[in-house]
Amino acid sequence: METRAARLSLGLWTLLVILFLWIPLVLICVYAFNSSNIQSWPIAGFSTKWFHTAWHNEEARTALVLSLKAAGFATAIALVLGTAAATAVSRFRFFGRDAITFLLVLPIALPGVVTGIALNSFFNNNPVHGLTPSLWTIVIGHSTFCIVVVYNNVVARLRRTQTSLTEASMDLGADGWQTFRFVTFPVISTALVAGALLAFALSFDEVIVTTFTAGAQNTLPIWILGNLRLGQQLPQVNVVVFFVIVMTVLPVTIAQRLTRDTGILRRR
């Protein structure tokens, strides 16, 4: 339908866009192996010495541990609440169902700063709960957007499976828990794994909400941000950033494979 020239130029454009999207990411990975501590191009030479330094950097390590804990707990909470919400919304009709759907999506529809200061003012100015910035405030902050990710994945999967499966199970005498354990759970299990991986990747990399809920603690992205602002320890930052890219790209690639049929990788 399109002329040859049109096809060619569209193809070329596509190629350019892909290069535009990928060159910066590849570049960061190359810089992690820079032997010099000066950040210029072309890099002075290949070396893995900064991996060693970064690995033994106490601050970076503490930050890594905190990030892993926060992402782990936030993912766990998201799995439980996200699955519960998804099952409720897709299986039952109840008062306020649409309101719940809307509220679940709100944390990612609003700009991160708004969620951030909202949580910040809630944690700081409320004598009722007595929470101070800790691992748990970070976990609560991250859960707000991790739940949606799990919820979206599970809802999409449930929409594609027929309710007749659960009905058959109930007819054969299984109770609610048995039906969930032996019918619903196997159906949604890969969606759960995918949702969990995505939630983990999202939480592991989150900056904006974290700055408002972490107090003086450093997660890995906050550590990176602090060093970038001050221009300190850049060779080690390169290595850590390389590591963060791997830690986010790997789970996402696996999740993509798990949900290939549904194609639910949309972030929003």
Partner: protein, 262 residues
């Protein structure tokens, strides 16, 4: 968790009407419009708000222009295998580290970075974009591009082939078909994508603080909450600016029927 979130949002909006005691620096719970007054009448804050909105518009237009031909190729010309590949290639950057992608551009735009090295090799003059509005524009367009590509792709993929055949059978040339058939049908996708690019640019403060040299709305909010200024009520009041702008934008988008394309 929802209770947490809603309570937090509620506290935020109430606190926008409070003020800070200038002597003690403590929060006083007196209802006042003073914060909103400052935002409207103080030229600095107005300027920052307009700068942010203007940048959000520029980024949205740029991303739409980049995304349209790409999404068209992906939806209508690429083979199924190629399409899956392109899909993954667009999604992975979207999910990979946000900080890393901003930082990468700092390395690229650096005076002795990749860009100047390439320009030098091509015999072109050096650029000096590091820490300018141009840098912010490039980086914003870069990080939010996948958010535009995906809904536009979804919209284009849905156009039945028969529409295009009909258009051609009735004697329309490629350009006419594009302008009269494809563009109107792709529009809901573009609007859907623009909701993301627009909203994300409005709320971001990390990009301006890392690759720019001027304040955006997010920077002012950030400083008033965690920085030296420490005036939470003012931050809360200023945060209503992006919220109101987004509210208007969403209302307009809804009227154009973009939500079905989401």
């Amino acid at each position: 968790m929802l209770v947490f979130y809603l309570a937090a949002l509620a506290v935020l909006f109430v606190s926008a009407f409070w003020s800070i005691d200038s002597f003690t620096g403590k929060l006083t719970h007196v209802w006042t419009w003073a914060n909103f007054d400052t935002i409207i009448h103080e030229p600095t804050y107005r300027k920052i708000a307009f700068r942010t909105i203007w940048m959000a518009v520029a980024v949205t237009i740029t991303d739409a222009v980049i995304a349209l031909p790409f999404a068209y190729f992906m939806a209508r010309l690429a083979s199924p295998r190629m399409r899956t590949l392109l899909f993954v290639l667009v999604l992975l950057p979207l999910w990979s580290s946000y900080l890393a992608r901003i930082y990468a551009w700092r390395l690229i735009l650096n005076p002795d970075g990749v860009l100047n090295w390439s320009l030098g090799n091509l015999g072109l003059p050096h650029q000096n974009w590091a820490f300018t509005n141009t840098a912010m524009w490039i980086v914003f367009s870069y990080i939010w591009l996948p958010f535009m590509i995906l809904p536009v792709y979804a919209a284009l993929e849905r156009i039945p082939d028969s529409y295009l055949e009909a258009s051609r059978d009735m004697g329309a040339r490629s350009w006419t078909t594009f302008r009269r058939i494809i563009l109107p049908l792709a529009l809901p996708g573009v609007v859907a994508g623009s909701i993301f690019t627009f909203s994300l640019t409005l709320g971001d403060y990390i990009t301006p603080s890392l690759v720019g040299n001027v304040d955006f709305i997010g920077n002012v909010i950030y400083r008033n909450v965690l920085g030296l200024t420490n005036n939470l009520p003012f931050a809360a009041a200023y945060a209503t600016v992006p919220l109101i702008v987004m509210g208007i934008y969403l209302a307009l988008a809804k009227r154009s029927g973009a939500f079905e394309a989401l």
